[in-house]
């Protein structure tokens, strides 16, 4: 137990160093963009970027926890889509509360299916969640039959478009989730066991952590967070079709990686993901403001992700691949 704690402490201080380096890269991006684009530093644009980053963060939050255990949840986008479909169908029938509950429960169930398959079915997370990805998006197609549901009540849309004290509600919600998850990860036994499992599952088990049930809860939580993100996305764009969750997976993984969480588990944290999401949003905003041609944007994105991971490897001396 002592040994694990020491190890964690070690990682944690390195994480702080890492976050500092990320803050510098954000500052660099901000300075660079504000020099070449006069509109960049406007208050509205800053809120705009943070709001977009908040949504990206909410989509990546559950995934971060899973990746910390050295797992992967490929179903985040699909679960988001499925929850949105269920919630939207009830919402257009006028049953707002029921819609929210149904959306969250469907995410919880899909997440627990992931958790069950990984923890008790002993299926590799990649395969288990890949299967659930197909099931969830397939269910969405069957359920929606090509329909688009739109026009949700304004009271609901408040969480995606409203302002509180001049700050978009979405940002506040993402901030609250960030604080809760940060406390969960660093101040609770559950959080510490997440790092322990990711660091070394065998020693985690030997030190008395019930790895299986913890994994089950983590995947379930990831599903729940996906469905929560679904509600925010719905409120924001005011329509749902069965493809809403597609294309969300890869940016979600990118935000986690940019935030310095190792795909091999045990290293990183939720604050990093918030920063990763912010970097992603900054880069996209910058490319839009500068009018970078469509065809180049994906390539630029990929180069930035690779570049930042390489810089970590060689710059901070912290290897993302466990040696």
């Amino acid at each position: 137990m002592n040994l694990i704690n020491k190890n964690q402490l070690f990682n944690y201080s390195k994480d702080n160093f890492f976050i500092l380096s990320r803050v510098f890269s954000i500052l660099f991006l901000i300075i660079f963009l504000s020099i070449i684009s006069p509109q960049f530093l406007g208050w509205n644009n800053i809120l705009n970027i943070i709001r977009q980053a908040s949504i990206q963060f909410l989509i990546s939050a559950g995934l971060t926890l899973v990746i910390l255990t050295a797992g992967i949840d490929l179903a985040v986008g699909a679960i988001l889509g499925l929850s949105a479909c269920f919630a939207a169908s009830l919402m257009v029938d006028g049953q707002l509360e029921l819609a929210i509950v149904a959306g969250l429960i469907s995410g919880l169930l899909a997440g627990s299916l992931n958790g069950f398959l990984v923890a008790f079915g002993r299926i590799t997370p990649f395969i288990a969640t890949y299967g659930v990805l197909w099931i969830a998006s397939g269910l969405g197609y069957v359920f929606m039959k090509g329909e688009v549901l739109h026009s949700f009540p304004p009271s609901f849309r408040y969480i995606g478009t409203g302002n509180l004290f001049g700050i978009p509600v979405t940002i506040l919600i993402a901030g609250i989730i960030l604080i809760i998850l940060h406390i969960l990860l660093h101040k609770t036994v559950f959080g510490r066991s997440i790092y322990a499992i990711g660091g070394n599952p065998s020693s985690a088990r030997l030190s008395g952590i019930s790895v299986k049930s913890k994994l089950f809860y983590i995947y379930t939580l990831s599903g729940l967070l996906s469905s929560f993100a679904a509600l925010i996305v719905m409120a924001r764009i005011n329509s749902v079709d069965s493809s809403i969750g597609e294309d969300l997976l890869l940016p979600a993984i990118a935000a986690v990686c940019l935030g310095g969480t190792s795909l091999f588990g045990g290293v990183g944290g939720i604050a990093g993901t918030a920063i990763g999401a912010l970097i992603l949003s900054l880069v996209i905003n910058g490319m839009n403001l500068l009018g970078v041609p469509s065809f180049w944007q994906s390539g630029v994105m990929g180069a930035i992700i690779l570049g930042s991971v390489l810089a970590d490897q060689y710059g901070s001396g912290r290897s993302l691949i466990k040696s």
């Binding site: 197609y141 079709d241 809403i244 597609e246 294309d247 996209i284 839009n288």
Partner: protein, 328 residues
């Protein structure tokens, strides 16, 4: 289940009515494999409903074939191969990519199954008939309509589809052609919205920061256009910017009625698919079918929205004879 029974009963009724024809064909009900690009975009739902109406009328059975992953080339290629083996009486086909699917349709030609194309034109394949319109023309007409309403001057933003998609490239060309006709219109920027609402909204929010004055937005489809209109409302800029889309999906029609969105250009997938199934069945029944049917593009704006039913189910079907007669 419902639909199947429905088609079955109707087939029986129609078979009775067309006893002579069916007798000549050996009493086997006609099966048409009807392809769509995906089951997520409402445009293709409109197509499916148009095709189902035709199948019901003609008393044939219709099998809707769609890739589970939207617009997936590899998957549609496999689906075509599967359906060659199943040997339907005819294919009514739209390629997810007009070039990539050419070899597959050539295989269908080799297998001797007649193919009617709709919505996206293909070359180097043998089609009984092609029913559609073209992407370049529709974006040209939509842009022209917008530019005229702006009095021929002002600043516009273009939200592109998936940059690599052939439909997006053709639509962009249509916009560029319209821009040449209106030298007073300035294209501020063209950025991709991936044909989807969430990315389009985010890109457009970023662009609103850069450009405090945008007079018009040309969106490559309606799904994005509705999102853009919403983003303008959230930013309090709704009455300064006119948004035009393409496709005529129900969501967009609702937005136009509510005054949120300026206009859309209707392709009428519903009519295309309806006529395509008719063409396929007429061909099987040895009736004349023109090599190509071009459908007129209709711009739907606040002025004429009341004459457009908001869902494809309520739409009236075009008359085959009249449509064919109007071709020349």
């Amino acid at each position: 289940m419902d639909r199947r029974n429905f088609i079955k009963y109707n087939s029986i009724i129609a078979l009775g009515g067309l006893a002579v024809t069916t007798f000549a064909q050996g009493n086997k009900p006609i099966t048409i494999a009807f392809f769509v690009k995906n089951v997520t975009n409402p445009f293709w739902k409109g197509c499916r409903i148009g095709a189902e109406k035709a199948a019901k009328e003609l008393g044939v059975s219709l099998e809707v074939v769609a890739p589970t992953k939207p617009d997936n080339i590899e998957e549609q290629t496999r689906l075509v191969e599967d359906w060659i083996v199943k040997k339907p009486d005819a294919f009514v086909f739209v390629p997810v990519d007009f070039k990539a699917l050419v070899p597959s349709i050539q295989k269908v030609n080799k297998a001797g199954i007649p193919v009617v194309g709709y919505n996206n034109r293909m070359t180097d394949v043998d089609l009984v008939s092609y029913i559609g319109s073209d992407d370049e023309l529709i974006e040209y007409e939509a842009s022209t309509f917008l530019f005229k309403s702006m009095g021929g001057k002002g600043k516009i933003v273009h939200i592109d589809g998936v940059p690599a998609a052939s439909t997006a490239q053709a639509r962009k060309k249509g916009l560029e052609r319209a821009l040449k006709d209106f030298p007073g219109i300035e294209l501020l920027v063209s950025q991709p919205g991936q044909y989807r609402r969430l990315p389009a909204v985010q890109v457009f929010e970023n662009l609103m920061q850069r450009y405090p004055e945008i007079d018009g937005v040309v969106s490559a489809n309606d799904d994005m256009a509705v999102g853009i209109a919403e983003a303008l409302i959230s930013a309090g800029r709704a009455n300064k910017t006119k948004v035009i889309g393409v496709d005529g999906i129900p969501d967009a029609l609702a937005a136009i009625s509510a005054g949120k969105m300026f206009a859309t250009a209707d392709f009428s997938g519903h009519d295309q698919a309806y006529l395509a199934v008719h063409a396929a069945v007429r061909n099987l029944r040895k009736l004349s079918v023109p090599k190509e049917i071009k459908l007129p593009i209709v711009i739907i704006s606040k002025q004429n929205i009341s004459s457009f039913p908001s869902t494809p189910e309520e739409r009236s079907v075009p008359s085959w004879d009249k449509t064919v007669a109007s071709q020349k």
